[in-house]
Symmetry: C2
Subunit: 499 residues, 2 copies
């Protein structure tokens, strides 16, 4: 049997396994492989195999005719070393593709179907286009609520599941879409100061100007090994780390890598994604924040209610205690948008600074209060007062400092970017609307979150009276190109309506 | 504004534009690009730009930090040279993606929507996953017949359209699925010998053991320049060439590149694909061969009828004269499966060899007869007799020899492969079923069509009486590995039922 020599090709194809074969490779000719075919690569010694999409190479420097190249992710999966002999064959079609075709034809799928799909996706047997087919087939009108449950269970079962060995492990999640919404960095220290276990992992921004992990990174290290993370949670009852390394519900990450560029965001996928991640992280009690507003992800109360019912149905079946809280999604939360600016807002609230943004503080206290009420010893309705007391007494700040210390304080915290431009009101009046999407777009153009000190700083919020020429917000950027793009976008549409 | 130096990366990604950026490239960091984002690359001098999917590179040999690499297809589209400065920016989301989301949500789309989608696909603004989303959204229950028409028109309008300046330009198409079904190579010389214009372009096999272009290539050159092709058609009234170079309905090729690995084959896409290609090729009159059988693409007469109605509706609206013919799809046509074996069958029929496979001859005469009746001077029902006269008189053979000569006779025709294995009957009885799919699968495993001399040669067809131990068919292979795979598959399931 013919073999090829394994080679690592230093290309990051982002969650898609790609193999490289030279056009003059005798296997390419004789086996009738074609570009974009899926092939199976087997390490002859270990017997381990992976599936990858085939690209054809015309340059020996990338892959020679007697070699089989693998992109970085695929090479890592095979856990082999360069130069070993590998066997190459046509990849079998994953069994579960049949379920995808049944779904496309309009059928409902069963628990075992979703499990089969999740297993094949977790084993990287699906190409991106197959995942896209699955997502579209499931989208919109396509998933019954039992199917959402099945998908959620399948995503949990195909990954690691943390067990904190405590009856009450709390977590919170916002479905997203509100710039500056950094309540997590307030809720975690408040709740942990009360003694509840809240091992919080967060994501980095993908399309928004900052994720909680990006903002926390201004203050402390967020990329922690599983061992380190457990040690911190045991000592502090909390953490504020990046969740990317945990390999919880890995199928969710793979699905998201295709959902995102497709701009798909169906309620079923949203609920399955959030609940799978939280259940895998070992949460037992969960608060879901659904901001409602004309430019938020959820536009009106009826859509919010439908989403709430779906969250409740699936979490009940999973045995998760879950409460959904509708919050004000009409404008960004706090003043800053971008990692450095948001970290500033958070620390002002924790320090009980009189200049701290009131809305961020209030929202965090409300949500923390609801979480505290998961404690059987806290009387219904009594959570808010306890949260406020923890914040005002400085215990929340102390806890935050302890968490920062435990994770590793950032020795060289990034500063506010030096290029600044003020976007001003064109007339006297009252601020009647702030467009979350436009503000997020402008903040993203400033370079956030890659440029930590870049972003948008709001001087006025809804209901404020402003005069013509007065600054509505400032744009901060580190690079000239970013500065110009953001400024041009803001001049075209500031996102703030004054009437 | 920052620029990068253009570099060609010798990787063939098969109809997907991929750009390569080094992880240390300053643009990658500052612009917040991510792997799998789409970026827009602009040649500063010409102003021309293309869209490509981003891969991140960690090896200067592939793309250095100050370079922007493009895969072969993308490099060709930009029509620039290496080393020139290019601008790189986030790609705008194609306008028509909104229509995809409306389609996913269950809406019907209008003519202008399909035109927008086709234009964006033709301009390579869609990634494969966006195309997959479009296909799935359109699949199965998803396309109304007017939408099939709109899609067909959109595919025609976004490519070249040939004009032969004659009122009667005929073509034929089989919807596929039957191994050995090489009627085209008989119909073309018969019809052209009658004087009708039949500029036939065919495809190569993608998943089957041979396409007409693969089989014709055994006899003559099939990759012809547009000029050469026109010259041959003018002199011979016909050609038998590969259609891949013609850039007719290019959107169809791009859609197929995603449909194929997804194993998708919805009636709407099928009809749009075939009619767009034929209309773009300048056909005015068209015969569609729909084989019906338990292992053919169309399983029963009712499915065939539904497909026929769709063909008729769309072709009428396009102003194409079209007739659908249902044929016997219960078994392969002729004896040989694979280029050399099929070419042998075809030449036996043309040479009026008494050993020529009767079913191939009869089917070709029937279909040729129907095409001849498009001639206003041929009486309804009189086509078959004319076709038979052309064949028996040797005029069809003469015409075939003239076409072969015009296209360029293969100076070194491939021979039958030397490894042979006979699959025998395990009992006495009558052949009651032949599985097209299994026979195609086995023939593919022999190495056909890449190995031209490989394939399957049937000794018995439906209704034949066989004795235990008598050969049912022979397998031919050029390579040991192929031989073993094909033999193992045939031993596991021969595909021929004897009862």
């Amino acid at each position: 049997m013919d073999t090829l020599l394994l080679r690592k090709v230093a290309i990051d194809t982002y969650k898609e396994n790609v193999a490289y074969l030279h056009r003059d490779c005798k296997l390419y000719r004789s086996e009738g492989f074609q570009a974009l075919n899926k092939i199976e690569i087997t390490d002859q010694q270990s017997g381990q195999s992976i599936i990858a999409l085939l690209n054809i190479v015309d340059d020996d420097c990338i892959t020679a005719p007697d070699e089989l190249g693998l992109c970085e992710q695929a090479f890592g999966q095979l856990a082999a070393r360069e130069g070993i002999p590998v066997l190459v064959a046509h990849a079998p079609i994953p069994e579960s593709i049949r379920c995808i075709h049944r779904k496309i034809a309009g059928e409902s799928l069963a628990q075992e179907d979703y499990l089969g799909i999740a297993r094949d996706i977790a084993a990287n047997r699906y190409s991106k286009i197959e995942i896209a087919a699955f997502l579209v087939a499931c989208s919109e009108l396509g998933l019954e609520r039992d199917e959402v449950l099945y998908l959620t269970r399948a995503m949990i079962e195909t990954g690691r599941r943390l067990d904190w060995s405590e009856p009450l492990v709390v977590d919170k999640h916002c479905i997203g879409g509100l710039p500056g919404n950094r309540t997590t960095m307030l809720i975690v220290p408040i709740v942990a100061a009360h003694g509840m276990l809240i091992p919080k992992t967060s994501s980095r921004a993908i399309t928004s100007p900052a994720g909680t992990a990006d903002t926390m990174e201004v203050l402390a290290r967020v990329e922690l090994t599983p061992d380190k993370l457990h040690e911190i949670v045991r000592s502090q009852r909390a953490c504020l780390s990046w969740g990317g390394t945990a390999s919880l519900a890995p199928v969710d990450d793979i699905l998201i890598s295709v959902e995102r560029p497709l701009l798909m965001d169906s309620p079923g996928q949203l609920v399955a994604s959030i609940l799978a991640k939280k259940a895998a992280a070992g949460a037992t009690h969960l608060i879901i924040d659904i901001p409602i507003g004309p430019t938020a992800k959820v536009r009106d109360r009826n859509s919010g209610l439908a989403l709430r019912k779906l969250f409740e149905y699936v979490s009940d079946q999973l045995g998760l205690v879950l409460e959904v809280v509708f919050t004000d999604g009409r404008q960004p939360v706090g003043r800053g948008i971008g990692p450095v600016l948001e970290a500033r807002d958070v620390m002002q609230v924790l320090e009980n600074d009189p200049l701290a943004p009131h809305d961020l503080r209030e929202k965090a206290l409300q949500l923390a209060g609801r979480i505290l009420e998961f404690d059987p010893d806290v009387r219904g309705g009594g959570g808010y007062a306890i949260a406020r007391e923890i914040l005002e007494s400085g215990r929340a700040l102390d806890k935050m400092q302890a968490i920062i210390h435990a994770q590793g304080r950032n020795p060289d915290p990034p500063q506010l970017a030096h290029l600044r431009y003020d976007v001003t009101a064109s007339r006297d009046g009252v601020v009647t609307a702030i467009d979350n999407l436009q503000l997020a777009h402008i903040a993203r153009l400033t370079g956030a979150p890659m440029a930590k000190g870049a972003g948008v700083d709001l001087q006025h919020k809804l209901g404020d009276t402003v005069r013509a020429g007065e600054p509505l917000y400032s744009i901060y950027a580190e690079f000239q190109a970013d500065y110009r793009f953001a400024r041009e976008a803001a001049e075209k549409a500031s996102g703030v309506t004054v009437e």
